[in-house]
C-alpha cells in the first residue's frame, strides 16, 4: 500500500475539465515533483490534496485512509504557498505558531516549537517582525516554518522558490533538499524549474493538459521518456528531436537521417525488437545534447559510439561547455563538446553519437517506440 495514492482523480470547474484522471502513487518519504506547462493543473492537484478544492471524481488516499471528504485542517497536511501567504498583521512568531494555536497547543509548548523551527531555519532574530519587514528569502523561510512547525504527514509546496532571485533560489533549493533528508517527511512539490525538479525529486510526475504523461525517477524521466512531450519538456537545453527513417541493414534496424549533403546512418541498440516493425517508416529520434560529443569526450567503454563528420552551423560557448550546432533531418541539433575545441561555423568536424542513449518516437501518436520490458518499470502513469 502506497503512502499517498491519487486514484483516477478528476477535476471539473463547471464545463472545463481540468484534471482528466490522474493516477499517482508514492511511498512514505518520497519527494514527488509535479512539473508541466502553465495551466496544466499542478496547483489544482495540490489544492485537491490539501482539501482546498473539492474532488470531482476519483479517490485520494493518505496512509490508507480515504481523505476525499476530510476537512483540510484534519488532513494533517501542511502547505507552502507560492505567494507565501503570510498573515500580514501577525509577527513571524505569530505566523509560525498560528496553526498550533488553532489546535489548542498550550502557549509554552507553542513557544518551544516556534523556537525549534526558527533555529532550524535560522530566523530566530526575526521572530518579532511583521512579514512586511522581511526580505523575499526570509519570508520564504517563515512560510516553510509555518509548515514545518506542525510536523505533518505530508508537505505540499507550490512553486515555493519562484519569487526568489537566482542565487537565493539555489541556496534555498539546497536547504529544502537537506531538510527533506533530515526529516524524511513525504513532500509533493510543484515547480517550473527543470533543475529544481531533477535535483530535488525522488519521483517526477510530468503533466500536460490535465493528464499525467509520465511518473518515474528523475533519471528515468530524463533518459527514458514516455513520449515526445516529456522528451522535449525535461532537460535544458532540451533533447534534440530529429526526423529519421528506419531501414533494415544486415537484418538489423538502423535509422537514416538526412544531413545537408548526404545521409547519416545510425545503428539502433535500444528498443531494437520494437523497431523491427518500423522498417521503412518515418520516426523521430531523440538524442540529448550530451549524447552527441566530440570523439575524445565520448564514452567509448560500451562501444556504442558512432562517429560522423558533419558541418558546423553555429558555436555557442557557455563556459562549462561548448554547444556545437549542426543540421540533421532539417533541424538544428545541439551537441555538447569540450570547451576550447577550436571550431568555427562552416568548418567540418567529427561528431560522436552515443547511440545507446538514442530514443525513438512515433511521429503520429508521439509515443515512444520501446521494447515491452521497459514499459513495466513505470506501471503508473503509463500512457503507452
Amino acid at each position: 500500500m502506497s503512502f499517498l495514492h491519487i486514484n483516477n482523480v478528476h477535476k471539473r470547474f463547471g464545463e472545463t475539465h481540468v484534471l482528466k484522471g490522474i493516477d499517482i502513487a508514492i511511498e512514505q518519504g518520497d519527494f514527488l515533483v509535479l512539473v508541466g506547462p502553465s495551466g496544466c493543473g499542478k496547483s489544482t492537484l495540490l489544492n485537491m490534496i490539501a482539501g482546498l478544492d473539492s474532488i470531482s471524481e476519483g479517490e485520494l488516499l493518505l496512509d490508507g485512509r480515504c481523505i476525499n471528504d476530510v476537512h483540510p485542517s484534519r488532513r494533517d497536511i501542511a502547505m507552502v504557498f507560492q505567494s507565501y501567504a503570510l498573515y500580514p498583521s501577525m509577527t513571524v512568531a505569530g505566523n509560525i505558531g498560528f496553526g498550533l494555536e488553532m489546535r489548542k497547543v498550550p502557549r509554552k509548548q507553542r513557544r518551544e516549537a516556534i523556537d525549534r523551527v526558527a533555529k532550524l531555519l535560522q530566523i530566530e532574530n526575526l521572530l518579532d517582525r511583521k512579514p512586511g519587514q522581511l526580505s523575499g528569502g526570509q519570508r520564504q523561510r517563515v512560510a516553510m516554518g509555518r509548515a514545518l512547525v506542525r510536523d505533518p504527514q505530508l508537505f505540499l509546496f507550490d512553486e515555493p522558490l519562484s519569487n526568489l532571485d537566482a542565487k537565493l533560489r539555489v541556496d534555498m533549493r539546497t536547504e529544502i533538499k537537506q531538510l527533506h533528508q533530515r526529516l524524511g517527511t513525504t513532500i509533493v512539490y510543484v515547480t517550473h524549474d527543470q533543475i529544481e525538479a531533477m535535483t530535488l525529486a525522488s519521483r517526477i510526475a510530468v503533466m500536460r493538459g490535465g493528464e499525467l504523461q509520465q511518473l518515474g525517477t528523475p533519471q528515468a524521466v530524463y533518459d527514458d521518456p514516455n513520449n515526445l512531450f516529456v522528451a522535449g519538456f525535461m532537460g535544458s537545453p532540451s533533447m534534440n528531436l530529429v526526423k529519421a527513417r528506419i531501414v533494415e541493414q544486415d537484418g538489423l534496424p538502423v535509422a537514416q537521417v538526412a544531413t545537408e549533403a548526404s545521409t547519416l546512418t545510425l545503428p539502433i541498440v535500444r528498443d531494437r525488437d520494437a523497431l523491427r516493425d518500423w522498417r521503412d517508416r518515418d520516426v523521430i529520434l531523440g538524442l540529448r545534447p550530451e549524447a552527441i560529443t566530440d570523439p575524445a569526450s565520448a564514452n567509448h567503454r560500451e562501444g556504442n559510439i558512432h562517429e560522423a563528420e558533419l558541418p558546423v552551423a553555429l558555436v555557442e560557448p557557455t563556459g562549462a561547455d561548448l554547444y556545437v550546432v549542426t543540421t540533421l533531418g532539417g533541424t538544428h541539433v545541439n551537441a555538447r563538446m569540450r570547451p576550447g575545441t577550436p571550431l568555427r561555423p562552416g568548418e567540418r568536424t567529427r561528431f560522436a553519437f552515443d547511440v545507446s542513449r538514442m530514443v525513438v518516437f512515433d511521429p503520429e501518436s508521439e509515443r515512444r517506440i520501446r521494447d515491452e520490458r521497459v514499459a513495466e518499470a513505470t506501471p503508473i502513469g503509463e500512457t503507452a
Binding site: S73, M79, S83, Y87, S89, M90, F98, G99, R103
Partner: protein, 291 residues
C-alpha cells in the same frame, strides 16, 4: 537671459498664480466657518451693529452656554445637549453595526463565494442608488410594525439598513484584492470562518475601516431627513434640534446662539475628519493600487 532662468521664472509665475487661486478658494470655503465662529462669540448687540466680518469686540462664551444648556427648542428650554447625546447614541451603534455587517458581507462575497454572489452584490450596490425620499413611507410602516417609531433605536436601524450597501461595497472591493491564499493557509492551519475573519482579515483592514467610519459617521451624523421623519421630540438627533432651534426662536433671532449650536453640531464630524482624514485617501486608493 538664459533659458534656464527663464523657465525658472516662468515656473515661479505659474506657481504664484496657482497659489493665488488656491488661496482664493480656501478663503471662499472658510468664510462661512469664519462667520459662524466669530458670530458665535459675539453678543447680540454687536451682531445688530451689522459688521458680519469683524472679529468680536468683546469675546463672550454665553451663546455657547446657552446653545448647549438653556436655549429653547420647541417648548423645552434645555439647549441642544440632550439632542447631541441622542445623535451620539444613534451614530455609534449605527456606524459600528453597519460597518461590521459590511465587513462580513465583503468577506463572504469575496472569500466564501456562493452561487449567485454576484447578483447579491449587485443588489447591494443598487441600494446605494436608492434616494432617501423613496424609502420614507415604507420605512415608517416597518418601524411602526417593529414598535420602533419615534425612537433612537428606530433611527439606528434605518441608518444601518441604509448604510449596509455602502459599507459592503467598501469592504468587498477591499477584500477582493486580499489574497485568497491567506484564507486557504488559515484553513489549513485549522482556523474557522469567524477566526479567519477576526484574526486574519479584520486586522489587515485598518485603511478601509477608517474610510467606512468616516463615511458612515458623517452620513449618519449629518442626516436630517430620516431624523425628522422617524424621530421627533426628545429622541430627535441634533440636526433636527438645530433646525427646531433656529425656527422656534420667537421674537429676536439669536444668531450667536444659533451659530454656536451649529458649531456644536459640526464639531464631531470635524474631529473624525482630522483624526482619520489622512487614512481616507489612502483607503480610497487601496482598491486600485495593490499595496
Amino acid at each position: 537671459m538664459s533659458a534656464a532662468s527663464f523657465t525658472a521664472r516662468r515656473g515661479l509665475a505659474t506657481r504664484a498664480v496657482l497659489y493665488a487661486i488656491l488661496v482664493l478658494f480656501a478663503v471662499v470655503y472658510l468664510m462661512p466657518l469664519y462667520v459662524m465662529l466669530t458670530t458665535s462669540f459675539k453678543t447680540l448687540e454687536e451682531i445688530h451693529q451689522g459688521n458680519m466680518l469683524a472679529l468680536p469686540g468683546e469675546w463672550t462664551l454665553d451663546p455657547w452656554r446657552e446653545a448647549w444648556g438653556s436655549a429653547c427648542i420647541g417648548l423645552e428650554c434645555n439647549g441642544v445637549h440632550g439632542y447631541f447625546f441622542n445623535s451620539i447614541k444613534i451614530v455609534v451603534p449605527a456606524v459600528l453595526i453597519s460597518g461590521l455587517l459590511g465587513a462580513f458581507n465583503g468577506y463572504v462575497l469575496t472569500k466564501w463565494k456562493f452561487r449567485g454572489h454576484k447578483i447579491v452584490f449587485g443588489l447591494m450596490l443598487f441600494s446605494c442608488f436608492i434616494p432617501f425620499q423613496i424609502i420614507l413611507l415604507p420605512m415608517a410602516r416597518v418601524l411602526g410594525i417593529l414598535h420602533l417609531a419615534n425612537s433612537t433605536g428606530g433611527l439606528v436601524l434605518v441608518h444601518i439598513v441604509y448604510g449596509i450597501g455602502f459599507t459592503t461595497l467598501f469592504f468587498r472591493n477591499f477584500y477582493a484584492s486580499f489574497p485568497d491564499e491567506l484564507v486557504r493557509a488559515a484553513q489549513l492551519d485549522g482556523a474557522g470562518f469567524f477566526t479567519i475573519f477576526f484574526r486574519i482579515l479584520l486586522p489587515a483592514s485598518v485603511p478601509i475601516i477608517v474610510v467606512t467610519i468616516i463615511w458612515q459617521f458623517t452620513n449618519v451624523w449629518n442626516d436630517f431627513l430620516f431624523g425628522v421623519s422617524f424621530a421627533s421630540g426628545d429622541s430627535a438627533p441634533i440636526t433636527v434640534a438645530l433646525n427646531n432651534l433656529v425656527n422656534s426662536s420667537t421674537g429676536v433671532k439669536a444668531y450667536n446662539v444659533n451659530m454656536a449650536a451649529a458649531m456644536v453640531a459640526a464639531v464631531p464630524t470635524l474631529i473624525v475628519y482630522i483624526l482619520a482624514g489622512k487614512y481616507f485617501l489612502r483607503g480610497l486608493m487601496s482598491g486600485s493600487v495593490k499595496g
